[in-house]
């Protein structure tokens, strides 16, 4: 996987994450809803950063889809939190790919920082520590 391929994969992942967290937020309230809002904003910032990196690499950023298939039905607080946890887990692996593929120090630094952030976010959504977050 080249650096730009990994950047595009991460960007596609962030598009999907924004969609999924948005759906999950519709089933949350109170502190959980606020946490989902913060999570959504973090993924928006990641999306914007990745878009700039892809453009800087001379490529056209992958576009978001109108809708995505969800891996599970989201019908209540528990399933909404489970969806966000799944999204964060998968993004951690995507950023692991980007760390590995990165050639530019700035890209690698961003990937490492975001891998750590998504690994931490997993705990906020009901996950437990693992030996190698982002391993495939």
């Amino acid at each position: 996987m080249t650096e730009v391929e990994a950047l595009q994969a991460a960007l596609a992942g962030e598009h999907a994450a924004m969609y999924g967290v948005g759906v999950a937020g519709g089933k949350l309230s109170g502190a959980r809803f606020r946490a989902a809002t913060d999570t959504f904003e973090q993924h928006r910032r990641n999306r914007d950063r990745l878009t700039r990196l892809v453009i800087a690499a001379g490529e056209t950023p992958v576009a978001a889809e109108a809708a995505y298939d969800l891996p599970q039905a989201v019908s209540n607080t528990a399933t909404a939190a489970a969806l966000v946890l799944l999204i964060e887990r998968r993004l951690t692996a995507v950023y692991g790919d980007l760390v590995e593929a990165a050639g530019q120090p700035a890209v690698r630094a961003f990937a490492i920082q975001t891998l750590l952030a998504t690994a931490s976010a997993q705990l906020a959504w009901g996950g437990a520590p693992v030996a190698f977050p982002g391993d495939v």
């Binding site: 969609y19 889809e65 298939d69 990937a111 891998l115 437990a128 520590p129 495939v136």
Partner: protein
Amino acid sequence: MVPGAVALASCTDDSGGSGTAGGAKSPDGVQPAEETPSTDPAIVAALTAAATLSTQLSLQYTALSTKFPALRTRLAAGAKYHASHLTRLKAVPGVQAVTGKAQAVPSTSAAALTDLAKREKAAAVAHAAAAAKVSGEHARLLAMIAAAETQLAITLTPKKKADQQ
């Protein structure tokens, strides 16, 4: 389903192209008999430093478990993960951990957990910085170790009352 939407698409193990490959084989399928260590000395130095830090953390987990048996269950996962980190790091040719001694253990279990959380956080910072200075699979390994230490630091940190509500 959108192919690029990996955050919501199902993951498969057969996609290749990422992760660390197992033992390399020659085109005729024969495993090389004995490979001379050829890893970049700078990478070996970075991974050796990480292995040494992982060893020190492992010793700290052991010391805490010995002094506070009631914490053993809570400390089990972290101890196991650091052992896994050490195994992966030492699998790189030339990497060896320098074994030291466990640091002083605080007198109460609460203080000991806080101290261990700080050590995990410091290790995560060090390993993330080390990951930024290397590349490829070694950068990924160090970043994943830093991520695990970040998770462990969070779970070991006593929750404030406001967080528990």
